[in-house]
């Protein structure tokens, strides 16, 4: 038997549980110990829902802002074309005046 075999045998040999082990296991199974091991602070259940609402509202506002900018750009382009044409007409009318 070499040293490794001896080490393994020693590590895996049957050991008697410490006194009171069975009682502690029984108590844990009854629930007392399980509750004690729960995390100290749990996240509120409403938090994910609130985060989702905020995300949707934020996304909606950003989308609305984008739509507004697009509408504004289109209005400005329409007015730029109209102004350009009117300016052209006005300048021709001025030139035509005696």
């Amino acid at each position: 038997m070499d040293w490794l075999e001896q080490e393994l045998k020693h590590a895996l040999e049957r050991k008697e549980p410490p006194p009171g082990f069975a009682a502690r296991v029984a108590a844990a199974a009854a629930g007392g110990a399980v509750q004690a091991r729960r995390p100290v602070r749990m996240l509120p259940r409403w938090l994910p829902a609130a985060a989702a609402v905020l995300l949707i509202a934020g996304g909606g506002a950003a989308y609305r802002e984008h739509q507004g900018r697009v509408a504004k750009d289109r209005v400005m382009l329409a007015m730029r074309i109209t102004a350009g044409k009117l300016n052209h007409i006005q300048s021709h009318m001025r030139e035509a005046k005696p």
């Binding site: 074309i81 102004a83 009117l86 021709h92």
Partner: protein, 180 residues
């Protein structure tokens, strides 16, 4: 079948009519055009866009003032690579809709040199201007504009001087009086 027809008729009648005051009927030119600008803005879109116009910017402030209360702005511009892409009948089809007593032409100019024509019409309703139409035709470009709703012509003419356009005076400035 008759029921479906009745339902369709009711839906068609109940459907809100577009604020555009006349039909452009120029869709057939899109295939010939090298560039097309097609802008259709109804009243609610204009009022929504107005919230995003900056009152401190001179151009945007002028536009904000002009679009207040408008029912729509409709612009179509076609640019062509060669002349003769549109016909006189295309223009006549628009002009035929802009007739008295509803519409009256206030400006018309024709440049034989450039081959350009431009016309401005106003729509009168209860002695108030309720719309403006512009038809500007150049050999390689055609633009039709309809501004629907109560238009302030002074604000419209004041657009010159904005968008980088030179300010055109409507009347020559008065000479200063000589003091005795």
């Amino acid at each position: 079948m008759k029921t479906i027809g009745t339902v369709l008729l009711v839906v068609a009648l109940a459907w809100p009519l577009p604020a555009q005051q006349f039909k452009f009927n120029l869709e057939h030119l899109e295939a010939k055009a090298s560039d097309v600008v097609d802008i259709s803005l109804n009243g609610s879109t204009l009022q929504f866009a107005a919230k995003f116009l900056d009152g401190k910017d001179p151009d945007e402030a002028q536009v904000k003032k002009l679009i207040n209360g408008l029912e729509g702005i409709y612009v179509k511009t076609y640019s062509f690579k060669s002349e003769g892409a549109y016909s006189a009948a295309d223009l006549e089809g628009i002009r035929n809709q802009l007739r008295a007593p509803e519409w009256s032409r206030i400006v018309r100019f024709k440049s034989a040199e450039d081959g350009e024509t431009a016309e401005v019409f106003v729509r009168n309703e209860d002695k108030k201007i309720s719309g403006v139409a512009i038809i500007a035709a150049a050999p390689k470009e055609l633009t039709v504009v309809n501004i629907a709703g109560p238009v302030d012509l002074e604000s419209l003419s004041n657009l010159s001087g904005h968008f980088g356009l030179p300010k055109l005076e409507t009347a020559p400035p008065a000479r200063p009086k000589k003091l005795d």
